[in-house]
Symmetry: D2
Subunit: 456 residues, 4 copies
């Protein structure tokens, strides 16, 4: 592997063990993604923002986005996330793609220029895995080509959606159609005309004794009558136009039965496979965001205009320590996510479940902390549109609750861990047996052992 | 004091030592504020929001606000913050007004209905303290009457404004006028026509050897030619219409010399007195916000629609502990601010400086933590406009940096504290002398004493 | 109140609202306690330690302690904690005594010189409240006179003692005697001959359907045959000689039936009243410890021998901020405990339950954090016997778990709080009703209100 | 690589990317270390403790230690840490040895049974790297053979030792001898007769204009007249017998000039190379300790004797979340240290400096937090000798300050990072240039860009 390539700034933060695993094709893609983000995306951030800010075209995918997508496609940077089994795949491993995702995270919309954005990536994987060839041709191919966009619709306002068995939006078969009635939260806005269909999870068989078989997943074209977008849901006040997060009422919405994915009652089977890689992508992008926030903080530290008490912000020992702590925590977080990606590469998404949960819980927490610190270093300006920091923080905060709050994930990990307690108890009893034996042999008086008194 | 009055819910969270100091007039005002907020403000929150949300009238003070201000004024709830020396003052102590401020904090715009809102309160105190009778008649009285509104203009983009000696906006005398040139951040928007003037701090005598005498404060009517509002500054994405936070360019803005306050070079004298009580008000309002957020969290905890794993959110031991921790921290914070108010009552703003800084540092940190936890308990909805929580968090985050970041305030407190170190060192030497004497008398071998070896 | 008295350093940290409530007698006692601790105790710390360190007399109350107790008694500083209804009481309120307790906390054994130490204080209150005159004469009076010492025995190794209904040590009546069998943890060591009796809680009526009536409390003289002290329990390695914390086996230990307190099955009634004031004392002492640790940190900050990178430790901005943060948190904590004491004075121990729990949870956490920071400022020496910091930290850590872990207390507070949720839900429904009415009147479209969609 | 080997419990926590790099010899050593620790060490913990606790032999290396060292040596488990260039080295990489070190950390003295304990490991590397063949034969070989033990002596009470240029213990040449005078802290006790020599750093050339050339390192046999051990320094009350941490006075201590290492004035050259790998070993052992603490916590969670409110400790959702959080943080920490070890393997100790500092700062903090939580889950017993937790916590706390406090290390990292700020500033200017160019081309109005107003 030529050292010259890896001396490219794209690789500065990648740990040695990961660098040594990158294939030439990965090295070239990572480099290209980096150059694209640095040269084509970051400098144009304010222009993208100003295009979106026009009230008349707020919910339209902007000309600049279309332009950049064309460029990225031409440069071979489309669909980099695609697993090897896709013919369109560039063949990157999860670990390799994770390196790309971090770089894309440096501007929140860069992912979209390369057709690697949520929820598209998850939807593409889902459709590829579970659809019939006919369905794929109709729904999947346009997504891969970047000529259409889709959304995922699961969360509901009146149940605890982190427990998906409670989802209540009704899907009822009537003849050759499914009829849908309910209220859904989130999912890209119907107001954006590029959004062509929803992948919707609903309750099709409420009486089924097995609660995991009660739900189905169907494709609902956005043009279907009966869908009303009540509002766009803001996230900490941000509308996230032109994609947004809709709140929808489905009233007698009818889709043909061929729009069902995999078959009735199989929604959980489908949901299962969806989330793993997407969570890793989210987390790596957050790390990329943190790097940008960190770079802005460093710049502020040496800003010659900003010298409280006559010295630069970076001359304060307290800020020197803050900078260090951020650096340490971002790098620590990266190791967690890269390890999760590598674990998925080696042992599959299922075996990687714990490592994915670890990322999902730890990284957004780290990211909100770090970006908050960066805002604080910026003083009052740090909270305003003068910097991209508030949007970054909000995105990190959003990831901390998207796909369920930390506590739900921690609960899951904790319950899995407690299942291992019995094994350690047995081992501890074995220690104690050996101890009692040795104490007897050596004539030593027996003590309380790990909280177990000699009486027991 | 009739127990029946204090059994009113307005007093539930007020600690006994404060309750016992409340005068009958304070009790009646606190009760009235509470009833006004509960009955007239909170239920109308969404209506206020919908009035503001119309693009055509976004930067206009809304009809509902005018209506409520009339009601509050009629009910004797106007200008409650005014210190006793004002003839319009209801005569509340800082401690008593603090109890009102907490309640006003339950809805962020309730303060305005009672003419107790920032920056008006600070401006009113400033004008009352430092203006000539003629100035007072012209600028102060309309604020007290609630017929005009004002703004404060200090922060600048290109210096470290937390060190106000660096403020660079130029004020130059030319004949009978001051000419102002510079760029300012924050201060209510000029777009709102009720905003009549800025109290602006600028650099009038850059060569003065005493850096505390270089700045002046002048009144600048918003109608003066030469002021351009470049944009509204958003705070974490919120525009805070219809008041907002402007970014301004002053280009050859001319005001008559009679608009100067107190005289040239006296800006620091003026700024000094301004901040104390305002910081306490901010902090008490944050506590009121936290109480609302907390109540919403409690409601979510028993929401029968939200039952992950089949039990209510409030049945999870982890959430039970979270609720407790919030309760404990909010109540702890209240004690800090009430003590600061009481210290100001007893010993004046200057003596209260430490206690005010303590509030300024601790309370916004507590509030962001607590409200963040409440959002998390709400799941995805907690970040959306379905609850007032995101706005509350943003306000708390804003207070954490307004008037300077935590670190600047901590730095000030720390440096004051280090000045006391010598005293403790002396005392410790005295301990050691006594120890050495006693050791000698008792024939005991001398040990290292608090890190000082016997060699020294 | 003469200003001169309150300018005494004993009052430096006492907030104005407390100062204004102190009676002359309290002022004189607080002053005297301060002078005693500063002049008689702190300088002799290493001598006390060296007396205890002799292996031959490790478990003997030391000559210096006896001497100081005599001095304190002569100076009228004995039993200051005693509530007014005792004839020996100096008549201090909880609030006033709290000020004394803080000062006593400056050296961990100073409380004992003034007969105000745990567990004696709790035992004295218990015996005074629940014993017969004959019992009082025999057991209580020597404690008040300081001629005997006692211990409390409740915790057990093989149950969850934070849930006292599980206590299993058996108390069985046989004729005129109770026979005791079981294993107990904690309680001053039997090895110290001044320890005259245990107040023991055990299970006397296991079949009683009411689990709160199954336990009894009896007085067990340390001289009773059948008690074996298995070991001294160390706390983080400290043996806390000469009092220590014993682990005991009771084997057919017989006491006369007249040693029962209040009657069979009444242990919970007794335990109830015991803990409130003691917890406040503990917490105030911790605050006194923190002040000492803080003073040592300040001294280190200006130590001219310690100048990494050529500047004193206190010249580092990071340490300046650390000092400030400690100062803020200690003072915040004091307000919490003083408020709890005042609440008990006004409304009794029962009404003060929440405020006591608040202290119990927040203060030891603050104290371990603050003292840990002080150790860190001291570098390697901070962990050694060169400073009293490690013992202080250990004591704070101990208080954090004594009388049950934080989590158990938080759980209790949280469950009490959740009982109030219904009230807020009702109020929120009322808000919504008003909103719906107003929206209708004003012709405004109805929005989701605090997470409740318009559908509901 | 046979799966059967890696299914051995020794590999459970080792991440896939590390597993795939382990050579067969490493796999066999890791397995053997694990079995040795599990079967020979952990069960005998209380026996080791009871042997050390006898006052008569407290400062003697215990018979059980000698026995286990013989066993370990015979099993080929001696000196596993030795780098490949030693003929005694088993040839493990830093990464491979790190896996061994974690396992050794499960009992704090297990490292010593395998001659892999601090400070021996650092001393061996130092002597091997910088000594003459004659010195090696005399001083190094016995350490490798395990027939002697040594100590390192650097820290002093009256300077800021974290800045080693301040070290003041004088080394003066007189004829063929160096004469040493001063006071030193830490270093294994002279009371233990197996401790044969100190490697001492002192000030030999105070007038040298280059402060990095003023110090020398000499070997001082413990038998040299003039050394007095003033006391053993306890760490949080623990004496850490039979090795301990001495405080020494050197009074005219004379050693032959051939005892100098490398030559006069070269102490910093020597110190430089010493610390890297040792810090990694410390950190991995802490992780092993955390795993044990965690296992004990899990066992407590399912303890059927401990059921507050009638359910096991592990049934509380709050504890389930606590368990999860610990699991996540321990695993995160391991990735940090393993990455540091791997970086050293690839690029050498110097290039690994940042990664080593990252471990040094993050891991002890994590470990004290995690072990503290485990103690808390154990209730009161968790602080006593009934569990090994207090000793574990104390060791982690010690590592947090050994080799300098966190803040000193963070300071170093922060200053290194700030040196990179200029580069990011340049890049940001480049972004802005591109933005201004694009804005001009597209006719878009220019906005403030990352805090830089259009004026600039």
């Amino acid at each position: 592997m030529p050292t010259s390539t890896l001396s490219h700034p794209a690789f500065t933060r990648i740990p040695p063990w990961v660098q040594s695993k990158l294939t030439p094709i990965a090295i070239s893609k990572i480099t290209a993604v980096y150059d694209f983000v640095e040269n084509e995306c970051i400098p144009l951030e304010p222009i993208m923002k100003s295009q979106i800010s026009s009230p008349s075209s707020r919910w339209t995918t902007q000309p600049l986005m279309h332009e950049l997508r064309e460029k990225a496609k031409a440069a071979g940077l489309f669909n980099l996330f695609l697993p090897k089994h896709f013919k369109e795949s560039p063949g990157l491993t999860n670990l390799e793609y994770a390196c790309c995702a971090e770089i894309m995270g440096r501007v929140y919309w860069a992912q979209q220029t390369m057709n690697c954005h949520a929820p598209e990536t998850g939807n593409i994987e889902l459709l590829a895995k579970y659809c019939t060839p006919a369905q794929k041709k109709k729904w999947l191919q346009p997504l891969l080509d970047g000529t259409a966009s889709s959304a995922y619709s699961m969360t509901e306002p009146d149940v605890a959606s982190s427990d998906a068995t409670q989802i209540g939006c009704r899907i009822t078969r009537e003849g050759d159609e499914y009829v849908i009635n309910g209220r859904k939260l989130y999912g890209n806005c119907i107001w954006n005309s590029e959004n062509k269909f929803y992948i919707l999870m609903g309750l099709s068989d409420p009486e089924n004794p097995n609660k995991w078989n009660r739900h189905s997943t169907v494709i609902v074209p956005t043009s279907t009558p009966g869908i009303t977008q009540v509002r766009n849901l803001t996230i900490m006040g941000y509308d996230h136009a032109p994609e947004g997060h809709g709140e929808y009422v489905y009233k007698d919405v009818r889709v043909p039965v061929e729009n069902i994915i995999l078959g009735e009652g199989r929604a959980f089977e489908i949901a299962q496979g969806r989330l793993g890689p997407g969570r890793i992508h989210h987390c790596m992008r957050l790390i990329g965001q943190c790097e940008r926030a960190y770079e802005l903080a460093l710049i502020r530290c040496i800003d010659t205009r900003k010298t409280p008490r006559g010295k630069s912000i970076g001359s304060f020992d307290s800020n020197i320590e803050r900078i260090a702590q951020m650096r340490l925590e971002i790098d620590q977080a990266r190791l967690v996510v890269l390890n999760a990606a590598d674990t998925m590469d080696k042992h599959g998404n299922k075996a990687g479940r714990y490592a994915i949960a670890q990322s999902k819980i730890l990284i957004p927490n780290m990211a909100t902390r770090v970006i908050d610190e960066c805002m604080q270093l910026y003083g009052g300006q740090g909270l305003t549109q003068h910097t991209p920091l508030p949007e970054m923080w909000t995105y990190a905060r959003f990831v901390r609750i998207a796909d369920g709050p930390d506590s739900a994930h921690r609960h899951q990990v904790g319950r899995d861990e407690l299942k291992t307690a019995e094994k350690f108890l047995e081992r501890n009893k074995e220690y104690r047996r050996k101890y009692l034996k040795a104490a007897k042999e050596m004539g030593v008086e027996v003590e309380t052992f790990h909280g177990v008194t000699p009486d027991v």
